[in-house]
Symmetry: C2
C-alpha cells in the first residue's frame, strides 16, 4: 500500500503510521531485542501483529533480524542506523506526551545520561527553538 507521494511525512507514515509500529521501535530503543521480550513490553500486542510489524520493519531496512544461536534457533531484532534515526520521532512523541500525560519513561542521552528533549533546530542560524512556531511549506525551492 505505498502511496505515491513526495511528502516525507506521508512516506514516514506509510511505514510507521499505525498504532503499533512505533511502540515496537520504542522498545527496540529501550534495548529489547527478542520476540518474546517485545511481546511482553509492547503493551498487549498480539503476536501476529508483532510478527507482521517486524517483517515490515525489516523489509524497510529499519531493523535487522539476526540469529544469535542456532541449536534452538533464536533471533534478535536490532535497529539499523535508519531505525535509530526513528528515535527522533519516538522522542518527539515522548516529549509531547510527557506534557500531557504522566510518564514512567524517559528519553536519555546515550552519552551524558541526562534526560533529553526533541526540539527544532535551525542549522543556518544555529539556533535551537524548543517551542517555536513552525510552518510547513510546499517547498523551499518554490516557496508558497
Amino acid at each position: 500500500m505505498t502511496r505515491k507521494v513526495q511528502c516525507p511525512v506521508a512516506s514516514t507514515l506509510d511505514l510507521v503510521g499505525d498504532r503499533w509500529t512505533l511502540l515496537v521501535v520504542r522498545d527496540l530503543l529501550r534495548g529489547r531485542s527478542r520476540f518474546s521480550e517485545l511481546r511482553e513490553t509492547v503493551e498487549g500486542i498480539p503476536p501476529a501483529i508483532l510478527a507482521n510489524r517486524l517483517k515490515s520493519l525489516e523489509a524497510a531496512g529499519v531493523v535487522q533480524r539476526r540469529q544469535y544461536q542456532d541449536r534452538p534457533p533464536r533471533f534478535a531484532y536490532q535497529l539499523t542506523a535508519k531505525g535509530h534515526a526513528l528515535g527522533v520521532v519516538v522522542g518527539a512523541m515522548a516529549t509531547w506526551g510527557e506534557q500531557y500525560a504522566d510518564s514512567d519513561l524517559a528519553l536519555v542521552d546515550g552519552e551524558c545520561g541526562h534526560g533529553i528533549r526533541v526540539v527544532y533546530h535551525c542549522p543556518t542560524c544555529a539556533r535551537r527553538s524548543p517551542r517555536r512556531r513552525v510552518r510547513i511549506v510546499d517547498s523551499l525551492r518554490h516557496e508558497v
Copy 2:
C-alpha cells in the same frame, strides 16, 4: 479505546497513531483550515475519516473549531498550543522522511524562514545531538 498506560509515547499514539491524523495536523500547520481545504490537500482522505479525525482532535484539545461566518455556516479548524506542539512530531517525521525519500515539503522556522530540523537536545549539558544514540529508559526516578 483509551489504553491505561503511562508511557507518553503510547498515549501520544492513542491520539495520533493512525495513518491520517498527523497528515491532518501537517496541513493545519501548513495553514489549511477549512474542511474542504483539508480534504483536498490531505492526500485522498475520505471525508468520513476527516470528519472523524477532526472530532477526535477537537475532543483532545488539539484543534479548535470556529464558525467564521454564519449565513451559510462555515467553520475553520485551528491548532491550539497543544496542537502546535505536535509540530515537533510531524517535523521529526519530515526530518526522517527527507533522508529516505524525495520531498516537496519543507519545515520552516516561523521567524527566520530557514529550513529547520528536529534534533535531540540535552538541557543539562545544553548540547544538541542531531544523530546521537539515545536510549529510552523506564524512568529517570528509578533508572533501569
